[in-house]
Symmetry: C2
Subunit: 337 residues, 2 copies
């Protein structure tokens, strides 16, 4: 019989320490985690750090292009990176349903290790809880992250320097993640396989920052999608945004499926997409830098900041109409990340 | 009808931002959280920090002496404090079951606020996920924590300086938390009400560190209880431990209930208890410092480190017998924290 997670694995006793040694320490292997102390002790180069947290409850746990482990690393790495920080250390807190297959847990931990290596971060501390059958759905993972931040970048996350004529850039196709997860959940066979875009974007973002051009704001386009981020940027601010629908990169296959299922792609969650707001004069140069990174080959300038339509994000449709983009109301796809 | 949590509260859209503003930012009120950036940006005094994480899945959510919110603050604060760190910042990641009462969420957030204030820490970043009914049990909370650590204390969490004749001190009665939670879960009426000991111990630990006596090791006695911690201390080390059963503070009421329910109090989880290993010559002085703090009035010296019984923790029973203390095998009480 295949081995499964038992309540004892969350007891804090012998079975917990066996699981830590045989799975977590084995896969996440690093000197800090090896010490198995109550807290990880970290030497940090700067005195300004970024700190973020996210819980991942994606359903299903495995989907085309990724799994909950890959998501848990990339999501938190990206939250740090869009703040202008260099991600360094992650925690991993597991809540596991009794009976979950041990080999699936190992597969998830292998994904975590692979993505952490790609993103150049370390899993330095963790926690495991096991709940009875039916008290959670398979596995939930929380990752919190710490990064260091150059004092020159601290304004980026608040977007205080955004002004008229700044340009908006997206690093590629939107909607892939949501459609991939939805398809796997509902067991739908697509003509063309759509893979989640889940990816660690800290390398891409570092390329852009290193190029020395003025970045005004960055945000990853996760739950709520591009539309919600656009609406949040203009909220309570003295500028507007105009986005050209024709310039927003969306795969034809994703467009088609959105029409069938009644989704608006602008509200779909992405896990490898970021919106950059950049100084207008530098937009073309920055676009080139982004396109040279493998996570940015399909990047486009999608719109700009305007002195008109104060506090409004406007979508100019393909046929020339205009509509106001608001935050996501209700919920299109629960448990997308 | 009372308001409940809906799937839309976890959408990342309008309802999420309404919930953040009306509950989380309202209760956890501080300048850093107010900014609602992807990551909290923190200025840290030192370049050595401690980082820890814990998920809380306690059942029931409210129990005598506390609730999941109080637990989520104290547990993570204590993990930092026993590492010799000064806790500063916490994250709060919520996974909530659709239909959970909004007023219960507010009560939990109020507890978080109260304990954070007591412990002098701030909730600076957070996340909210909502899953459908039946996909989690009411509410799970992850808190991760950051503290700063004095370079003089970095050896404490590994316990490398423990040696023969060091003394073991516990800051009060063990077992209360587990019995309080178990009683609430099973709806048992006790003759004497037993309250969870959940408390932030950073103040107590700071008192001890400030007194300048040599602390060799500290660990909070959570899942697995005192017994598991004792077994872990001796594991792969060239010393033993002898603990006197008669000196271990356990309430008569807890002892009686343990006999009825077949629990061994040494394995019960505590949320306000810490084991100190201290230099033998200073043990009485340190005991006095501990007893002067409100979370240490019932502290006792319970045993010592020996050159005999290498790698073994031995319990000397009241009647003079000896038995080896091993780590918790299996699970006595799932979802105790």
């Amino acid at each position: 019989m295949d081995k499964t997670i038992l309540l004892g694995h969350g007891s804090g006793g012998k079975m917990t320490s066996d699981l830590i040694n045989s799975v977590f320490v084995k896969y996440f292997d690093n000197d800090i985690l090896q010490k198995k102390t109550d807290s990880a002790l970290l030497n940090i180069e700067t005195k300004c750090i970024a700190f973020t947290t996210d819980s991942y409850v994606v359903d299903p746990v495995f989907f085309p292009g990724g799994d909950i482990g890959k998501l848990a690393v990339c999501g938190t790495v990206n939250d740090l990176a869009v703040s202008g920080a260099k991600p360094l250390y992650l925690s991993a807190g597991f809540i596991i349903e009794e009976g979950f297959a041990l080999n699936q847990l190992e597969e998830i931990c292998m994904s975590i290790k692979t993505e952490a290596t790609k993103a150049n971060v370390f899993i330095v501390t963790g926690d495991t809880k096991v709940v009875k059958r039916g008290q959670c759905d398979k596995i939930f993972i929380n990752t919190s992250g710490i990064g260091i931040i150059d004092p020159g970048y601290v304004d980026i996350s608040e977007g205080k320097n955004i002004k008229t004529a700044d340009k908006l850039i997206v690093n590629g196709f939107i909607g892939d993640h949501s459609i991939a997860v939805m398809g796997a959940r509902e067991n739908i066979q697509f003509e063309t396989e759509i893979l989640s875009d889940v990816a660690p974007l800290n390398g891409l973002i570092q390329d852009v920052l290193n190029a020395g051009h003025k970045i005004k704001f960055m945000r990853d386009l996760t739950r709520g999608g591009l539309a919600t981020v656009l609406a949040e940027i203009v909220e309570n601010n003295d500028f507007g945004i105009v986005v050209n629908e024709v310039d927003i990169p969306i795969r034809e296959s994703v467009k088609g499926l959105c029409e069938i299922f009644g989704y608006d792609p602008l509200y779909l969650a992405n896990e490898g997409k970021v919106l950059f707001v950049v100084e207008g004069d530098h937009a073309e140069n920055i676009l080139q830098v982004i396109q040279q990174n493998k996570y940015g080959t399909d990047a486009r300038i999608i719109g700009e900041v305007t002195s008109e339509n104060i506090s409004m994000a406007i979508l100019k449709s393909v046929i020339g109409g205009k509509r106001i983009i608001d935050k996501l109301a209700g919920e299109q796809l629960p448990r997308i990340c």
